[in-house]
Structures are given as structure tokens and as C-alpha cells.
């Protein structure tokens, strides 16, 4: 069935960016409110999508297809299934909220909002694209505004952080481009259509390459392509050892951009693996999953948590906690069990909402105190009770307290992994303890104890800030109590994905 709702969701922000560019550059209020208005229709459409999404079918829904460059079989082809729907919803929501979180920007306002909307369009496009060429274009379209948003509106070391982010991601996308071309030339007829590639997955050779010396380890065309794709996506996740751009980028980026970066962009790494590596290269996935997804994921959890514990900068702490939490996603994906993979995708969604809250909260305190040194605060609970309350909610969700969303996804992941790899499950569970450790320690240092004299008169969180946090908090609680609101969307597609891989798993 042809449907153009997704097209609207992608191109309304793009059109909005053009409109913003045409507004007079001094009328800040107008620019802000126009930008906010532009993000409303995609949000409404996202709710409509949620209401009308058929949770029982495996296939892509709301697809739209049009020839774009027919000479090369390049199409405009968009659609969603269970793997992407939750990400589309998350993107629409966070884009809307982050516009409000950006109202404090006062440098080159017009450029900021135009780039933000362009970024919005790019993100939406990545999650909806079903043509590989289109996917790559959106992937790159998203990279550029991000680079500018960090590089122009960031903190003192913004230039360094922006270039680091850019070079890492560019390296990944070039590898990805080569992998895309390799798949293109091995698909018959040559096409960029992802659905065709998925259908032809069994045609991609798994024969070991002639120069490969180890007989017991397969390393064929599929594996090479898989690695190229994986490195491209691992940089985005970011998986150890490709994570070093993340703390720098987060620390320098303005609050709203940190939120988008952690909330949406990181998910593209794991989303890409699920969308591309899993169905298109199932044999390689089965061969690689244990070490490169499972073990690396567990290591990510522990390593990220330990790094977070050592930080004195509040924002860097949250950044490393992202590294740790994305480890659960990789771990869950690697288990190929219903619980594991559903938990992984739910964790993607939950991490998006929870980390968004955390970064917004750090932004609130930074706007007032102009520093983020954990040791420099103390006893904020007495001065800012509302703020502290919301922060506590976010922290508890992040450490996986029952009744909040983080708990559900982490438990599902660990349950799933336990059935397959008990060792990794134990490592993952250790991560939960470490997480609780650094978060509680932070709460104690920043919010409890004697009030710091300097911040006796610090103003309480204001209405606009609360407005950006409340919807996220509500979702965190709702998913924590009744996870089916999200899980129902995912289940059919993810089970199908599992079924593709399981026959190829080494026994």
C-alpha cells in the first residue's frame, strides 16, 4: 500500500529549514517558534503511525516507492517495520522537545535552527530509508549539520571535538559506502533496493577468500562486507575501541545537540546492524555475533561504567554511561533469543528517553552554574527540590530500578543472554552494579550533603525546562509499568529477524 506519511515526516523539517533560512535573522522569537511549529506535524504523524501500525505483520508498512535514478536502479523507497518504528517515534519526539531545549541559544540563531531541522530530516530519513543509496545519503546529510552544530555552537574545545567526530564518522561511512557498492555489484540485477538485497542474502558468497589461511574460521565475501559495515556502525554506537570521539563531542556540544546525539544518533549504529547486517549477511552475523557483538557489548558495559566512575565532569559521566548502556543493546542483539533481541531494541528506545533526560538535566544545572564539575556542587536538593526530584527519576531509570523503563529492557537482555551465554550475562549483570555505584555516588555528591554556599540562591528549574522533561519522564514510567506499549510494536519483526539468523548459528 502506498502511503506518503513518512515522506511528509522527512520533508516537512527540510522545508522548515528552508523557511527558517528565509526569515529575518534578527527576529529570534519568530525563528524559534516557527522551528517549534515545524516539528509538530511529524510528531502528530508519529502518533498516527503508532495508532495505525499493524503489529502482526513482518513486512514493511507505510511504504512509498518512486524511481529516482532508474539507470542505476536507485529508488526513493521508504517504509517502516518493527525494527524502525520505535526509532521513528523517538526521533519525532526528541526533535520536538529539543527545539524547546534550544531556546537559550543566542548565537547565529537562524543558522542553528535551520541546521537543526536539516538534522531532523536526515535522522528521520535514515530510519525510514529502504533503498541503500537513499540510506547513505541521509546518513551523510545527518553528519554535516551535526558537525556544524558542535563546531559552531559548542564549548571551548568545539573545533577539536567537531573534527574528531567528523573524521571518525566519515571514516566509517566511507567503509560503509564501499560495502554498499560491493553488495550492489553482487546483487542480480544490480540494485540498491534493501528488500531485494535481503531476499538475495543467500546469494552473497560465504566461501573463504583464497588468501585466508585459517580453515576453521570462515572469512568470505559476506564476512568482509560485514566487517566494513560493522566498523561503520560501531563508530556510531560507539563500541570500544571506536568510542573516543563520544566524550569529546558530548562535552563540547550544546545541550540539545547532546540529547539528539545520545538519544538518536547512537541508535543508528545498532539500528544499522539490525537493518543491514542481520538480514542481508546472516551467515557472517551468525559467525561474528558472539565475539563482535556479545563479548564486545559486555566489555562496553563494564568499560563504560568504569570510565564513568572516574569522571569529574557531569556531562562526561553521562556520556560514558551511554557507552555502557549501548553495550546492553549489543549484548542483547547477540543472543538471538526473543527476550534478548526485544530487550535490545527496547533498550535502544529507553536509552534514548533516559539519556535525553540526563543531558537535559545536566544542561539545566550548567546554564545556572556555568560549570559541570561534580565536586563543585553539593546539597542542591535543598535549593532545587523539583529539579532534584526529576533528576532522581532519571538516575533511577538509568540504573534500572524496577518500575522504570530501564529495568525492563536490561532484565530482558540479561534473561535472553543467560539462555545462550551465561558468562556474558554475568558480566552484564556486574555492569548493573557498577552503574548503580557511579550514579548513586554522583547523586550523593551533587544533591545531598551540606549545601554549597555559592549556590544558595540558585533559581529553581523553570517552566520551559520542565516542559521538555515531563513527557520523557512520563514515558519512562509508562514503559516501566506497561512495557507492551513498545514491545508489541517490535515483536513480530524481531522474531522474524531471529529466525533468519538461527539456522546459521554454529552449533
Amino acid at each position: 500500500m502506498e502511503h506518503n506519511v513518512l515522506t511528509y515526516m522527512i520533508f516537512i523539517p527540510l522545508a522548515g529549514a528552508v523557511v527558517v533560512l528565509l526569515l529575518p535573522s534578527q527576529s529570534y522569537h519568530l525563528i524559534r517558534w516557527v522551528s517549534a511549529a515545524v516539528t509538530v506535524p511529524p510528531l502528530l504523524m508519529a502518533s498516527w503511525l503508532y495508532a495505525n501500525f499493524d503489529t502482526t505483520t513482518v513486512g514493511f508498512q507505510f511504504v512509498q516507492k518512486a524511481a529516482w535514478i532508474p539507470a542505476y536502479n536507485i529508488q526513493y523507497f521508504v517504509g517502516v517495520d518493527g525494527v524502525s518504528i520505535s526509532m521513528v517515534l523517538l526521533t519525532a519526539l526528541l526533535s520536538f522537545l529539543c527545539i524547546f531545549a534550544s531556546f537559550g541559544i543566542d548565537k547565529a540563531v537562524k543558522g542553528y535552527f535551520a541546521l537543526f531541522l536539516l538534522l531532523d530530516a536526515g535522522m528521520m530519513g535514515v530510519f525510514c530509508a529502504l533503498d541503500f543509496f537513499l540510506f547513505y545519503i541521509f546518513w551523510e546529510v545527518m553528519l554535516l549539520p551535526m558537525y556544524f552544530l558542535i563546531g559552531i555552537w559548542g564549548g571551548p574545545r568545539r573545533e577539536y571535538a567537531a573534527i574528531k567526530f567528523f573524521l571518525y564518522t566519515l571514516f566509517g561511512s566511507v567503509l560503509m559506502l564501499l560495502a554498499i557498492l560491493a553488495l550492489y555489484f553482487n546483487t542480480n540485477p544490480h540494485t540498491f533496493d534493501m528488500t531485494v538485497m535481503m531476499a538475495q542474502a543467500k546469494n552473497y558468497s560465504t566461501q573463504s577468500l583464497p588468501f585466508w589461511p585459517f580453515n576453521e574460521l570462515r572469512w568470505g565475501f559476506q564476512h568482509v562486507v560485514w566487517m566494513a559495515m560493522f566498523i561503520g556502525f560501531a563508530i556510531k554506537i560507539p563500541a570500544f575501541p571506536f568510542h573516543t570521539w563520544l566524550p569529546d563531542a558530548h562535552v563540547e556540544a550544546p545541550t540539545a545537540i547532546s540529547v539528539i546525539l545520545a538519544g538518536v544518533l547512537l541508535k543508528m549504529g545498532t539500528y544499522g546492524i539490525l537493518r543491514i547486517n542481520y538480514p542481508m549477511l546472516p551467515v557472517a552475523t551468525a559467525d561474528m555475533a558472539y565475539w563482535l557483538l556479545g563479548a564486545l557489548g559486555a566489555w562496553n558495559i563494564i568499560y563504560g561504567a568504569l570510565c564513568a566512575m572516574a569522571q569529574t565532569d557531569l556531562k562526561k559521566l553521562v556520556a560514558y554511561s551511554s557507552v555502557s548502556h549501548m553495550g546492553y543493546v549489543m549484548l542483547g542483539m547477540a543472543s538471538f533469543t526473543t527476550q534478548g533481541i526485544n530487550g535490545a531494541v527496547l533498550q535502544m528506545f529507553n536509552h534514548g528517553t533516559i539519556t535525553a533526560m540526563l543531558f537535559l538535566l545536566v544542561g539545566v544545572i550548567y546554564d545556572r552554574a556555568h560549570h559541570r564539575n561534580i565536586e563543585g556542587f553539593g546539597g542542591l536538593a535543598a535549593v532545587m527540590p523539583v529539579y532534584t526530584g526529576i533528576t532522581a527519576l532519571a538516575f533511577f531509570a538509568s540504573m534500572g530500578l524496577p518500575g522504570l523503563s530501564g529495568f525492563i529492557s536490561e532484565v530482558l537482555v540479561l534473561l535472553g543472554v543467560w539462555q545462550k551465554y551465561p558468562g556474558l550475562a554475568i558480566l552484564g549483570a556486574t555492569g548493573v552494579i557498577l552503574t548503580a555505584g557511579y550514579l548513586l555516588w554522583t547523586v550523593q555528591r551533587v544533591y545531598l550533603g551540606p549545601t554549597n554556599e555559592k549556590y544558595k540562591t540558585i533559581p529553581e528549574i523553570d517552566g520551559r525546562e520542565i516542559f521538555t522533561l515531563v513527557p520523557l519522564g512520563a514515558i519512562v514510567i509508562l514503559v516501566g509499568v506497561y512495557p507492551s506499549v513498545v514491545l508489541d510494536l517490535l515483536r513480530t519483526s524481531l522474531d522474524n529477524l531471529n529466525q533468519i539468523i538461527i539456522p546459521h548459528l554454529p552449533s
Binding site: P70, A71, A108, L144, G151, I152, R158, F171, L178, L181
Partner: protein
């Protein structure tokens, strides 16, 4: 002998405009000289219209020494577009720098005439004369900024190097004539396709000399050393004209002569061409990184792009050649636009071309900076801009033709090029200060030129289909 005049029409139209501009210049007052630019634009527009109307025709004239086919018309359109943009972006610049307007515009038109002849030439003599007409006009254009020592030096250097290259070409043509008994490409091709024992060895020497001559003209490594100095010294709009139109004209002739008509010799120059392509890409990019001046950086970047274009020549056949034409179309707006932005930065008669001069441009002139970012990103090959689609087609054709290694080297090279293209963007947006308020050439025509180039950069990236179709029918008209 058939002597239909229709195939001469586009070239004659531009020539006529050139003569009108040259003569009218004598009869009008100093302050009315702006009129000449408009007459030039009008003439170019008429030529463009004729080229559109003639699209699809395939007609030779004067014993097939000149062919009017889609291939010639495709390039004619590129030349006209670039010439028109050059005129637009020079309208204020020539005043500021004290360049004589009448001669400037007429020389641009003369050069364009030469290019149109080159693209349509089906005879080595005609091609050579077209090349010389273009080259002489461009030598003079390079040196027209009389009060700038750099400009005169560049003109001298360009002239000497150009004469050198001409020597190679002419000697190559003479040897080929000696071997095949004709300068007409049809007859040369017929001779080469004839089954027979052996070609005389000096035919290969002739082919090699032709290769060297073309190498000079497009600036392929190791014949590139004149490019940076000449590009830097020439008045900036002329540099843009050179970097795009002159290069395109040389590639047009190259494609027609070496790729199609002399294609039986393919296997003999596959290797030298491959080496040339790899060296040109890599060395162009490596040297571009260390340049302190944006104009010089762009000069080296144009060398690197000549390397990518050579991949198209190596790949040959239908896809390689189509992508060569398409790449030229995508390369044109971004490169020309970048030079137009440098033109815009000129203050009175002081060129401002260093990276430092771009600092803070993003806040002083947001739209100019945005256009410049588009050009840089397009040259670096970012989707969805023109440069990406162009590179994509070139590399794809290389893979289809079995030159996967060339494609991979090309991709790695474009990754390398990001370093220096990005530096411009970093300067414009992430460094404050630098550009002062009233230090631009604020001409609406120059802004128009920049805007048109930016629009073309986006258009060719997002909707490449039509141009691709044109390139293909242009290429297939060669057969």
C-alpha cells in the same frame, strides 16, 4: 564538397558576438562599457538556445572536418554556461582591477569559440586550431591584470608552457598524419580498423606525444607544474574559467580523439593512462593539503579532479565515457562557484585568498559562506551534492570496467581531500574575526553567479537523471 553552414552556427554565434563586443568597445563611452557584458550574455544565451534547438542533430560539414553531434552540443552547453557565469562574475571585478572591459569580454568569447571548435572538431588540424584560438585568448586573459606583477608572470609562464605543450601536440599530429595519411579522424579510424600486418612504430610515438600534449593541457601529473602558479596569478574569474571550461575542452577533444577514434590503440595506452590517473589524483590531493592559500589549494584540487576524470578515460567504453561527461558537468558549478567566492573577497584591487581571509565569513556573509560550504562539500564528494553523484558514477564505471583498484584509490583520495576542503569551512564558521565589513565586491551579478552555481550543485546532486541522460546520448552520438 558538402558545406552546410548549420554545424558552424553555435561557434559562429559566439564569434560574431565577440566581434560585435570588440568593435562596439571603440565607439562607446567609458561609463557605458557595462553594456558590453550584457551583449556578451545575450550572444551566449542565443548560442545556448541554438544548441538546444540543434540537439539531436548529427551532421558533418566541410568534408567531415567539423561534426555537429550531441557530444559537441553537450560540451558547447558547458562552455557557454561557464562563459556566461564568468562574464557575470567579472562585471565589477574588471572595474576594480582596471582590466579593459571590451577586450576582456571579447577574449572570453573568442576563447569560447575556440572551445566550441575543439569539441566539434573531427579533424586534427581543426582541433589544433581550435585549441590554439582558445589557448592564445586565455594566455592573454591571464595577463590582463596589468598592474599585478603576479598576473604578468603567470601569463608568461602559461604561454611558455602552453607553447611547449603545443609543440608536443603538433609533432604528435604530424607523426599520426605521416603514419595514416590523413588528419581526418574518420579516415584515421578507418585506417586503424583495417586488418593489416603492422602499424608503423612512429604511429605509437605520435599517440604518445598526443598523450603528453593533452596531459599538459588538463594538468595531469607529471605535467601539472604550471597549474598552481598560473591559476594563482590569473585574475580570479579567469582562473574559474580556466579551471572549468579550458579543462573541459581539453577533455572533450581527448575523449573524441583518443577514446573513440583511436580506440584500436587502447591496449597500448591503458598502462600509461592508469599511471597518469593514479599519480594525478594522489599527488594533486597531497600537495593541496599543505597550501596556505585557498586559490592555490583549489588549483591543486583541480589537478586531483583531473585525476578522477582520467579514471573515466581509463574505464572507457560506454559507462566510463558517459561518466566522464557527467563528472565534468558536476565538477563545473562547484569549482567555478568556489573561484567566484574568492572573486567576491577581492578588496579594491587586493586579492584575499588565504585561509585566514575566510575567517568569520560564516557570520559576516552567511549566504556566501553557505554557498562556499556547498561547493567545498560537493568537491569533497558529499551526498546529496553534485560532486557525490559525479564521483559515484566515475567509480562505478571503473568497477564495471574491471578497474576496482582505481575505484578504491579514488575513494581513498576523496577521503584525503576532505582534509583541505573542510579547512575552509572550519575557517568560515569556527574562527572569528578576519573578514571586515566593507571589504567585498558587492555586485548583484556576482551574487547571481554564486547563487546559480550553488543551485546547480544541489540540482545535479539531487536530480541527476536528466543530465545523465544527456551525457549518455552525447556519448552515443560519437558512434
Amino acid at each position: 564538397m558538402d558545406a552546410s553552414l548549420i554545424p558552424l552556427l553555435p561557434g559562429a554565434q559566439v564569434l560574431l558576438t565577440a566581434l560585435v563586443v570588440m568593435l562596439l568597445d571603440l565607439f562607446i563611452d567609458e561609463h557605458e562599457r557595462g553594456l558590453l557584458a550584457w551583449i556578451s550574455l545575450l550572444g551566449l544565451a542565443l548560442c545556448g538556445a541554438e544548441a538546444i534547438l540543434l540537439w539531436g542533430s548529427s551532421e558533418g560539414t566541410f568534408g567531415d572536418t567539423l561534426l555537429l553531434d550531441n557530444f559537441a552540443l553537450f560540451f558547447t552547453q558547458i562552455f557557454i554556461a561557464v562563459a556566461a557565469l564568468t562574464v557575470l562574475s567579472s562585471m565589477r571585478y574588471v572595474r576594480e582591477t582596471g582590466i579593459h572591459e571590451g577586450e576582456f569580454y571579447s577574449l572570453i568569447l573568442f576563447a569560447t569559440t575556440g572551445m566550441i571548435v575543439m569539441a566539434a572538431a573531427n579533424d586534427l588540424m581543426v582541433f589544433f586550431l581550435g585549441l590554439e584560438t582558445m589557448s592564445v585568448a586565455v594566455y592573454v586573459l591571464t595577463g590582463m591584470w596589468r598592474s599585478s606583477a603576479r598576473s604578468s608572470e603567470a601569463a608568461m609562464k602559461y604561454f611558455l608552457m602552453g607553447a611547449f605543450a603545443t609543440g608536443f601536440l603538433l609533432y604528435g599530429i604530424a607523426l599520426i598524419y605521416g603514419a595514416t595519411g590523413s588528419t581526418n579522424l574518420n579516415q584515421i579510424s578507418a585506417y586503424l580498423l583495417e586488418p593489416q600486418g603492422q602499424w608503423p612504430p612512429y604511429l605509437f610515438v605520435g599517440g604518445l606525444l598526443l598523450l603528453v600534449g593533452f596531459g599538459f593541457k588538463v594538468g595531469a601529473v607529471p605535467f601539472h607544474f604550471w597549474i598552481p602558479d598560473v591559476y594563482e596569478g590569473a585574475p580570479t574569474p579567469v582562473t574559474g574559467f580556466m579551471a572549468v571550461a579550458v579543462k573541459a575542452a581539453a577533455f572533450a577533444a581527448w575523449a573524441r580523439i583518443l577514446m573513440h577514434e583511436l580506440s584500436p590503440l587502447d591496449s597500448d595506452w591503458a598502462l600509461p593512462l592508469r599511471v597518469l590517473a593514479i599519480a594525478t589524483m594522489t599527488i594533486g590531493n597531497l600537495l593541496a593539503i599543505s597550501q596556505p592559500s585557498v586559490k592555490r589549494m583549489l588549483a591543486y584540487s583541480s589537478i586531483a579532479h583531473a585525476g578522477y576524470l582520467l579514471i573515466g578515460i581509463v574505464a572507457g567504453e560506454e559507462w566510463g565515457s558517459t561518466s566522464l561527461l557527467f563528472y565534468l558537468a558536476t565538477y563545473a558549478p562547484a569549482t567555478f562557484g568556489a573561484f567566484a567566492v574568492i572573486t567576491l573577497l577581492t578588496e579594491q584591487d587586493k586579492p584575499k585568498e588565504d585561509y585566514g581571509h575566510f575567517a568569520g565569513l560564516g557570520f559576516k556573509r552567511p549566504f556566501v559562506a553557505m554557498a562556499m560550504s556547498l561547493f567545498m562539500l560537493s568537491l569533497a564528494g558529499f551526498p546529496p551534492l553534485a560532486g557525490f553523484t559525479g564521483k559515484f558514477h566515475i567509480f562505478r564505471s571503473a568497477i564495471i570496467a574491471g578497474h576496482t583498484d582505481l575505484a578504491i584509490i579514488g575513494v581513498l583520495n576523496s577521503l584525503l581531500s576532505v582534509i583541505y576542503y573542510l579547512r575552509v569551512i572550519v575557517m568560515m564558521y569556527m574562527n572569528e574575526g578576519g573578514v571586515k565589513g566593507k571589504s567585498f565586491i558587492e555586485s548583484p551579478y556576482l551574487y547571481t553567479a554564486v547563487g546559480l552555481a550553488a543551485a546547480a550543485t544541489i540540482y545535479l546532486g539531487v536530480l541527476p537523471m536528466r543530465t545523465l541522460e544527456w551525457s549518455r546520448s552525447a556519448f552515443s552520438s560519437l558512434f
